[in-house]
Subunit: 414 residues, 2 copies
């Protein structure tokens, strides 16, 4: 028996549950819908006409009038690097025009410029820099986000980034889950000694992170010239021994076998996959690994997009995330990511919306808690000023979200 | 001698004048800048430190503190179809996946579905539908926009659309200039009789539009299967006799010679040009015709982008506009269009910003009035919440504009 509802959200032109069993079509849409919440969790969804007949409310229950808007689950951004110091707007044009890594580095840019600035920043500074970025996520509908470390690349600096992520999660409404990404790049001190750096990650960083419970996931940039499949396997397996789920960069620029590795280590998610083999993604599918695509990065860098349809044809679960980061995609708007998915990757609007909600939750191992509006899950709810859910990707480049409810609490309104 | 200033805008981290002579680089950037306005026109720009020494103010002068923000000219969107009735979100996924015109029409979509809905709407209804769209333009920094007719396709319905454009321009802050686009499509009543429809456009619609002074420009969709180069020439030359400047759809899907026609008729602008020959654009350049690119349409439809660099290499002036319309690009955000220009068309950030300001003004024949912040021009000014102007295209998918000043009047603030 549910607790009596303490929040009712009424008068929703459409309620998009993202649960086919609860409404029409693959998104489970309820026309003229309503939703009831108790103690931050959804306890009822259905047609508004049945709300007062079916739901018991407590005396002090609040009511939010949806005003005919569309209600949908809060977005889940399962891949971001939003904690960083420094700024890289000058290399943007260079990168987009295909400048080499060397040219960018010579111009003072590249990931190591972010590493340098991040190492020089304190936890307080990193939190202060990240706060407006997370606020922008919230305003655009993201209620849960993953945040990676990986711009520290020393034990102390990686711990510092993860401490900043923790503080960030505790001091504003967006739920933050940290991903330890010490193996994001080879720091200058270890040039030519990648295995020695992997030793440091595995033997020193991972235990330090795990003992402090500073991360939920472990990541590695498995890529030609960075970490090989064998090195990535070491990092991910060591992470598993410390209880961290694998969620990592695979087959972004070169076909290296990252998708196959993700299947082998039973990762939560393999991300990017621009160059993944569909057979590799089929193996991921067979063991339930989510394929996370980041079209904003291809857009920003002017690269070909991931072959989403080939992956979908394997039956794989495809999530979409922002990859929000200062070098390869300075964009946090998952509504626009949906438009990219439809316009550029030929996903259906339904697949795109599931990609930033339920499938994003799967990519973070949180599918029992968030990502859809099913009784029992947390009430992370967006109200969007659109005539119907299709406008979320169709009417693009603008922000349709006008209210954000996190765990049953109204945390943003405009 | 200027009138004493009645408005001062101070404390601008950067003032981007878009006039190289007035500051640094191709954008004429003034660090720590300020601007003075009298009777809606810029009378002075320069370093804030010299403002009070150099500018005479009237007693009741107002001051806006820029708070360190970036100031830049209001955006000029020189190509939109934002007046329409009906809704086409259902065909979006079909189009992006490459459905044929026939399949889309069979599913109830396509331009003729917009024509049907627009014919059924009154002027009041069209204005009411367009008003929130123009508001969204304003919020994203567009202070002047072109609006086309072309969903009526009868004399009465084209006049109705243009009357709606006029009313729209008179009842909200964004400056609206109408483009008569009766030759946008062949209406069903004229199927197989395109020349007869061109007769109607030339002999009946154009005089009716011109006598009522309802349009500043004349447009035609010069495209395979729609209007040939010869038919387009007839429309544009007839428009010229009525004093309407040519500004038209050229070489969008097929290389037809639209660019060459634009040069021949001395158009203000030829638009789209996805398939234009660089030699044709070179001819445009030689006679001062602006090349207007609409990357949002390529993005939305999943088509290859216009070869902007080849056009720029001819020395042509390249403007950027939104093409905001319900079928092929439901997106009004020129900040995002800049990002597309850089990431996808390899334009420099400077070229992109000029494309939506000064070059957009050229495409509308308004370069003496708007598009840059030069003393003598109207004060259409944006304040953007960014550390520097490069963030306008670099930090993408969000709206950086926080204040909009139109003709010296603060018309939007958030």
């Amino acid at each position: 028996m549910n607790a009596p509802a303490d929040l009712l959200v009424t008068n929703l032109g459409e309620l998009v549950t993202c649960e086919p069993a609860l409404g029409e079509g693959p998104l489970g849409v309820i026309k003229n819908g309503a939703l009831a919440v108790a103690e931050g969790r959804v306890v009822w969804v259905g047609p508004a006409s049945r709300l007062h007949r079916e739901v018991v409310t407590c005396a002090e229950a609040r009511e939010i009038d949806g005003g005919g808007r569309v209600g949908l689950p809060g977005f889940v951004d399962s891949h971001t690097h939003l904690i960083f110091a420094g700024s890289r707007e000058h290399e943007y044009a260079l990168r987009a025009r295909g400048a080499s890594y060397q040219e960018i580095a010579a111009a003072g840019g590249g990931i190591l410029s972010t590493v340098k600035a991040t190492r020089a920043a304190s936890v307080d500074e990193l939190v202060a820099l990240a706060r407006p970025r997370v606020r922008t996520l919230l305003e655009h509908g993201t209620t849960t986000t993953e945040v990676k470390s990986g711009y520290g690349l020393t034990t102390a600096d990686e711990l510092k980034m993860l401490a900043a992520a923790k503080r960030l999660g505790e001091t504003q409404p967006v739920e933050v889950h940290a991903n330890f990404c010490g193996a994001h790049e080879i720091p200058p001190e270890y040039t030519g000694r990648t295995d020695a750096y992997v030793d440091l990650v595995v033997d020193e960083m991972l235990p330090a992170v795990a003992e402090r419970r500073l991360a939920r996931y472990v990541d590695v940039f498995c890529e030609d010239g960075v970490f090989s499949v064998a090195q990535a396997r070491r990092v991910l397996e060591a992470g598993a021994r410390w209880g961290l789920r694998a969620k990592f960069h695979a087959d972004e620029f070169v076909t290296l076998g990252g998708a196959e590795l993700a299947a082998e280590v039973r990762a939560l998610s393999a991300d990017h996959l621009l160059r993944a083999r569909p057979e590799g993604v089929a193996r991921m599918k067979a063991v339930g690994v989510t394929a996370t695509l980041l079209p904003g990065t291809a857009f920003f860098l002017g690269l070909p997009y991931a072959p989403a349809r080939a992956f979908l044809e394997t039956g794989a679960r495809v999530a979409l995330a922002s990859d929000f980061n200062p070098g390869s995609s300075m964009g946090p708007n998952l509504q626009l990511v949906m438009t990219m998915a439809v316009s550029q990757m030929k996903m259906s609007p339904e697949e795109a919306l599931l990609g930033v909600t339920l499938h994003g939750a799967h990519a973070m191992g949180l599918e029992e808690e968030i990502g859809s509006l099913r009784p029992g899950k947390r009430c992370d709810l967006l109200l969007a000023d659109v005539p119907n859910w299709r406008y979320l990707s169709y009417y693009y480049g603008v922000n349709h979200v006008s209210r954000v409810i996190k765990r049953g609490r109204l945390v943003y309104e405009r």
